[in-house]
């Protein structure tokens, strides 16, 4: 029969406790089994500041992040040659955009799609791409960050991981990012749930208005 002694029993108990703690701490208390989930949790906790970067938008205008001072900014990251996630991401962004009451647009909140492929996404390309999603280029802007160093700082701060592959495409994680009036990231929203995202944003805007 099974040979037992107290040491082996104790060892078994220790192993179970160790395994439980390993999984508990390794998944932030059984909440994050993927690095993406852990990343979003961490971002919400850390609330990083939007780094000082310079944009060049689809109209060829150049400005820094201070352009959006005192406005919420609803941000997505994309590249226009993308045929998979980005169009879906932008379509969903359009749905959120449509749901935001007109009075807030451009005044209290600006939508901003940032390209992480500055070589190919010139202002002309972005100007064309913008029309596919009925972006007006003003309250919803599309811009690139020409300086690679600045771009990397931003991607790093917001935990956007971009992997170039052999065919000139990128694999990347996607989400809606909400930056508040002071330039702090306050929320990371699931881009697959535009209705929920719109609700969250409208609530925040209403609260601000009430103050």
């Amino acid at each position: 029969m099974i040979k037992k002694n107290w040491q082996t029993t104790l060892a078994g108990i220790i192993v179970i406790i160790f395994g439980f703690s390993l999984f508990f701490f390794g998944t932030d208390g059984f909440t994050a089994y993927t690095a993406e989930k852990a990343r979003v949790n961490k971002l919400m906790h850390d609330r990083p500041k939007f780094p000082n970067v310079n944009f060049e938008d689809s109209k060829g205008r150049e400005y820094s992040i201070s352009e959006f001072e005192n406005k919420y900014v609803f941000v997505t990251f994309l590249y226009t040659s993308c045929t998979t996630v980005c169009p879906q991401l932008e379509m969903n962004m359009l749905q959120v955009y449509k749901k935001i009451p007109k009075k807030y647009l451009g005044k209290d909140i600006t939508f901003l799609s940032i390209s992480f492929d500055p070589e190919r996404d010139t202002p002309e390309t972005l100007e064309k791409y913008r029309t596919y999603f009925h972006s007006d280029g003003e309250t919803w802007r599309m811009a690139r960050i020409p300086n690679h160093k600045e771009l990397d700082t931003l991607l790093k701060a917001f935990g956007v991981i971009v992997i170039p592959d052999k065919n000139g495409t990128f694999a990347h994680n996607s989400a809606f990012y909400l930056v508040n009036k002071k330039g702090t990231l306050v929320d990371v929203l699931d881009y697959k749930k535009p209705d929920e995202a719109a609700k969250t944003v409208i609530n925040i805007l209403k609260q601000e208005e009430g103050e």
Partner: protein, 185 residues
């Protein structure tokens, strides 16, 4: 002694930055080659510890259960999408991978395997068959990119790696169930 040296050499070789980098650049090689090789290294090293401290294993792992549980826990931990990502992004996790797989999975596996009876061994294999089917299905079928460091296509390849391994387990289990080796001896 030879086994100890081979095991140690394997760990050092696998930990060489260029070797580790190449292996980790492909998801399936990372999980289905580098990680098992680390376990094998521990398996080889185990003999040294068993000969040196026979009392320890005899006392604390008499029926093999604590050891095999530790093995299962460590291996399952490293099949999570998150731990793979973190091993690539965080030095601490990478070091933990190189320590935990040989010491906490390889060594206990070797010591426990001979202590477990036939039934115990088959239960372990059945458990891993189920785990591998579930993980395979997860990686093949997941609509989203589970690991930030790997492409979806890598993920699907890894999923099929899990599924084919699980199928091999099933074939083995079928073999021991239906074939009586003593007939052929």
């Amino acid at each position: 002694m030879t086994q100890l040296l081979v095991g140690l050499f394997m760990i050092i070789f696998l930990a060489l930055p260029p070797v580790a980098k190449i292996m980790e650049s492909v998801m399936i090689i990372h999980m289905h080659m580098q990680m098992p090789m680390l376990i094998i290294a521990g398996f080889l090293i185990a003999k040294f510890f068993q000969e040196r401290y026979p009392g320890f294993f005899e006392k604390w792992n008499r029926n093999g259960l604590p050891g095999i549980m530790l093995f299962i826990i460590i291996v399952s931990f490293w099949t999570l999408p998150r731990t793979m990502d973190e091993a690539l992004n965080e030095a601490g996790m990478e070091i933990f991978k190189f320590i935990s797989l040989p010491l906490l999975a390889g060594i206990p596996l070797r010591d426990s395997w001979k202590r477990l009876g036939k039934i115990g061994r088959n239960v372990v294999i059945i458990l891993f068959t189920i785990l591998f089917f579930v993980m395979g299905w997860l990686y093949v079928d997941a609509p989203v990119q589970l690991c930030n460091n790997y492409l979806v296509i890598d993920q699907i390849i890894l999923g099929w790696g899990f599924l084919t391994t699980a199928i091999c387990f099933v074939i083995y289990l079928g073999y021991i169930l239906f074939v009586d080796p003593s007939k052929y001896e």
